[in-house]
């Protein structure tokens, strides 16, 4: 009874300020090789008009991000900090992938006049909020893609000049990036699913990616008003060998060294989904304890999947024990069946020898047996790798494959990177190879990073595709379905949207000798002075017959000694 009055007050205030709702969800998916992927999603939806109204009361939506969106005219913001690489070939298609390092892409409102200035301010403010070196984002690593990265939320018109995309592949993610990310959650890390987010277990993993997505969505089916959605996602992959001690049995305690005790009191929905989809249409080979609250079936990424659902808000869950420790056990000992190959996967590498030239090759595989589909490839290469665009070749099955759309923006030294966007048709069951040659530049000694022989990173290239799905998919209702199905908008039921990233590349550049600046200046100026001296002599002096000299000091001394010896003088 004592709780009623504050709750009523809360509701009243909420009604006055615009309703906001929090949904939290954890998805545990076992991966074919015995590893397990855990994806947390925290979605705050706020029915307020951020850009226009002067909003002063923030409840669930974090004030730092709300003020950012309002002040800088941001329409969509996607920031991801990732460590590791999602191995699509062995782990399958990722629910949401991000490139290694820090990735930031933003759509600005059409009312913003100076997009570059707003972009610079935005990256600096985000750098402060997330304790990441996002302030290194400048014109040398920012590009304006023309076809990739279409808005994921509501969009009136898409003028690509309002879009900016930057990747910092050298960024390292650690605890001090996790802490401010957790602080943005309404319950912090004190209640709900966020209690599992402990740094010492999360960073002991093969892949760790935390992201923030802000976008406008329709308030209801009629779409007359706009709500703002903030999704914070964290994906972590635990390796069966390093975290699991070689065994394939997983539990929440084994993964996070914590168990769930309650749901976040501010959340309207708090669920744990475990992927128990059977492979090869057999019985389930995964056993989950305790018994799930319900079982949910959905078509995700073109396949029919079954999920065991634990609803933390249902009172029956915590009846038997105070804490929830979901355990996954494999029924059969060693599952040595072949790994299911995802429909679309890519691999990128750099080849060549020596420090002068090289070649970047990208291999894109379409393993669908009979459907062909186009893929949009976006490559950003730093200016100091000078691409020879006339050497760009795209071959599929030995024949040349001409892309239907190419956009190339050449680099300007020290000002902007190369941008190459291509729409390539991938025939069914084929591997497409894209190669381009480049030349390496010599930089000024101050432009090298602290360990210059480690190399320079080339950020991952982005592949965006609508992959045809095996099973027909229904239109998802964002409010009713799990969060992991509603991140990307689906246009029709026959294909789903996938964004893949390739590996980042590490390329060595020729280095000058860093210990030599003073020596080089002296030696070069000496050579110039040799020329100056010789010419000065020849220009200002004239030939004269030599005067017989009386003798210098040495000669006179020698003569004195000779006189003593009685020898003829010089």
């Amino acid at each position: 009874k004592a709780m009623v009055a504050p709750v009523l007050l809360l509701l009243l205030v909420a009604a006055a300020a615009g309703r906001d709702a929090l949904r939290e969800e954890l998805l545990l998916s076992p991966l074919p090789a015995g590893d397990v992927a855990a994806t947390f999603q925290f979605r705050t939806r706020w029915d307020a008009d951020l850009p226009r109204g002067a909003v002063s009361h923030y409840r669930l939506f974090p004030k730092a991000l709300g003020q950012l969106v309002a002040a800088l005219g941001v329409r969509e913001l996607h920031l991801a900090l990732t460590q590791g690489f999602w191995r699509t070939r062995t782990w399958g298609q990722p629910p949401l992938q991000a490139p290694a390092g820090a990735e930031l892409w933003v759509w600005f409102q059409p009312t913003v006049t100076d997009v570059d200035k707003a972009w610079k301010e935005l990256s600096n403010i985000l750098s402060g909020i997330f304790c990441a070196s996002l302030n290194f984002i400048d014109s040398t690593n920012t590009v304006t893609p023309t076809a990739s990265f279409k808005p994921l939320g509501l969009a009136n018109g898409t003028d690509h000049r309002l879009l900016r995309y930057a990747v910092l592949p050298r960024e390292v993610v650690c605890t001090e990036n996790l802490t401010p990310w957790k602080k943005l959650l309404p319950c912090g890390s004190k209640a709900g699913l966020a209690v599992l987010l402990k740094a010492e277990r999360l960073f002991h993993s093969s892949y760790h990616s935390q992201a923030v997505h802000i976008r406008p969505i329709c308030r209801d089916a009629s779409c007359l008003a706009v709500s703002w959605e903030l999704r914070q996602t964290l994906t972590v992959v635990f390796d069966s060998f390093s975290s699991g001690q070689g065994k394939k049995d997983w539990s929440l305690f084994k993964m996070f060294s914590r168990t769930l005790t309650d749901a976040c009191p501010l959340a309207s929905e708090s669920k744990v989904y475990v992927d128990i989809s059977p492979k090869n249409k057999e019985n389930e080979l995964l056993e989950v304890t305790p018994t799930p609250t319900s079982v949910h079936e959905a078509v995700v990424q073109g396949e029919k999947k079954t999920y065991a659902v634990y609803d933390l808000l249902s009172p029956s869950l915590f009846n038997t024990s105070r804490s929830l420790n979901v355990q996954l056990k494999w029924k059969r000992p060693e599952d040595s069946s072949e790994l299911p190959i995802p429909v679309l996967h890519a691999h990128r590498y750099v080849s060549g020898y020596g420090l002068q030239t090289g070649e970047i090759s990208t291999l894109i595989s379409n393993t669908h047996p009979y459907r062909a589909f186009p893929v949009l490839l976006l490559e950003t290469v730093p200016w100091y790798l000078r691409l020879y665009v006339h050497t760009l070749t795209i071959t599929t099955k030995g024949k040349e494959n001409k892309p239907s759309y190419i956009h190339y923006q050449p680099a300007q030294d020290r000002r902007r990177p190369h941008l190459l966007e291509m729409l390539i048709q991938l025939p069914a069951n084929s591997v497409t190879k894209i190669t381009i040659q480049f030349e390496r530049a010599l930089l000024k000694w101050t432009e090298y990073p602290p360990d210059p022989n480690h190399g320079f990173y080339v950020s991952s290239s982005v592949l965006s595709a609508l992959v045809p799905s095996v099973v027909a998919m229904k239109e998802v209702d964002v409010e009713q379905s799990p969060l992991f199905t509603s991140l990307f908008p689906s246009s029709d039921g026959s294909s789903y949207f996938v964004r893949l990233y390739t590996e980042p590349l590490l390329v060595n550049l020729p280095t000058p000798d860093f210990s030599m600046p003073y020596n080089v200046i002296c030696l070069t100026c000496t050579v110039v002075a040799v020329c100056y001296g010789s010419f000065y002599n020849l220009l200002t002096r004239t030939f004269h017959v030599e005067e017989p000299s009386r003798g210098g000091l040495a000669k006179r001394l020698a003569n004195i000694i000779r006189k003593f010896r009685g020898v003829p003088l010089l």
């Binding site: 070069t524 050579v527 010419f535």
Partner: protein
């Protein structure tokens, strides 16, 4: 430059042929130029002998038509068979086109046509900024040919200078405007001339600039860029004052200074001034260090690719090795030019003062620069 890009739009399939033809054209232009120059030299020598300007015992220094007969052929062969020329032809470097334009400019100047000389000089300046300094020797030669003495108060001198300068500037303006109409923007000016002057790209070459600016402190970068660029243009006026009687030698020294100190030198530039060396073969007896310098140049040319391979491909050397060879090569070139300059001045002294010099007391004298 825009016009060259436009030209190659049509010629790109025949690129090898084009570069071979430009080399042959350069050689032919040099041949004709030196042939004419020999006639001028001989005429001038005859005039000075008749005017009794020479000392009595310099008979062995006087040049005869017999010895000068094969010089034009030697010049053409020196250019065509020079390994540097062959290398820059194989590499299809646009330096070959620059050389052709400069060779035609020299031919036009020596033939005495002020208009053609101004036009070719404008094209050469348009291509790379530095041939601007060749304005002075060309002007001096043309004045000499018109028998106009170089006196600052003389009206005819100023008239001719202004005429020639006007021709040159107008052709330059016309060419730049043509490029503007080709591209519809003035962007090519900072891209071409701003690039030559501000040296943003540090790709290793045979010059001194790249490593210097790779290791330069940011604070002084602008200062040293200005110093290095002024260094190229700086020798023009003093050389003009000293060598106003000998404009072709002045041209040779100027071309050499340009090819040593320009911001992005290539071996093709070196080949151009080396082609002139047979013209001064009569100075051989006065050269002091020719053996050492030729050894230095040959050894450095051989070591350049070796140390480049060791740095970039083998990884067992570092950039300092290649830089050292750059320094040595440039010192060798500088000493070669100053040696020839010394020899030239010494011969001039002997011509006017006699070959066997005696001191007042009758003993043999030494000659020094004081």
């Amino acid at each position: 430059t825009p016009l060259i890009i436009y030209l190659f739009h049509f010629l790109i399939e025949y690129a090898e042929l084009v570069f071979m033809i430009t080399d042959v054209l350069t050689a032919v232009a040099l041949y004709l130029a030196i042939q004419d120059y020999n006639k001028v030299v001989f005429k001038k020598q005859k005039l000075l002998i008749e005017l009794d300007k020479y000392a009595p015992d310099v008979a062995e220094l006087i040049r005869t038509p017999m010895e000068m007969h094969y010089i034009p052929l030697k010049v053409a062969l020196f250019y065509l068979l020079n390994p540097y020329t062959v290398m820059s032809c194989v590499a299809k470097s646009t330096c070959a086109i620059n050389n052709t334009v400069i060779a035609f400019f020299i031919l036009a100047t020596i033939k005495g046509s002020a208009f053609l000389s101004a036009v070719f000089l404008a094209v050469a300046t348009y291509q790379s900024l530095y041939p601007l300094t060749l304005f002075a020797p060309a002007l001096l030669y043309l004045l000499q040919r018109q028998f106009i003495p170089v006196k600052l108060k003389s009206k005819s001198f100023w008239l001719y200078t202004v005429q020639y300068a006007a021709l040159y500037l107008c052709s330059l303006v016309v060419i730049i405007c043509l490029s503007f109409f080709l591209l519809n923007s003035w962007d090519f000016i900072p891209s071409v001339y701003g690039f030559i002057l501000s040296v943003p790209d540090l790709t290793p070459n045979i010059g001194l600039f790249w490593y210097f600016f790779a290791e330069m402190f940011e604070h002084f970068s602008l200062f040293f860029v200005c110093v290095f660029q002024i260094n190229v243009f700086f020798y023009t006026i003093p050389l003009a004052i000293k060598l106003k009687e000998h404009p072709v030698f002045f041209m040779f020294v100027q071309i050499a200074v340009i090819s040593i100190f320009k911001s992005y030198p290539t071996v093709g530039d070196v080949a151009l001034y080396m082609a002139f060396l047979p013209v001064w073969s009569h100075l051989y007896r006065f050269l002091r260090n020719i053996f050492i310098l030729s050894c230095v140049l040959i050894v450095c040319s051989v070591l350049f690719p070796v140390l480049w391979h060791l740095w970039i491909y083998a990884g067992s050397a570092n950039s300092n090795f290649y830089y050292a060879i750059t320094l040595t090569f440039n010192v060798g070139q500088i000493l070669l030019i100053s040696d020839y300059f010394y020899a030239f001045l010494r011969r001039e002294y002997y011509l006017t003062h006699g070959l066997h010099l005696t001191r007042p007391d009758g003993t043999e004298a030494m000659l020094v620069l004081k």
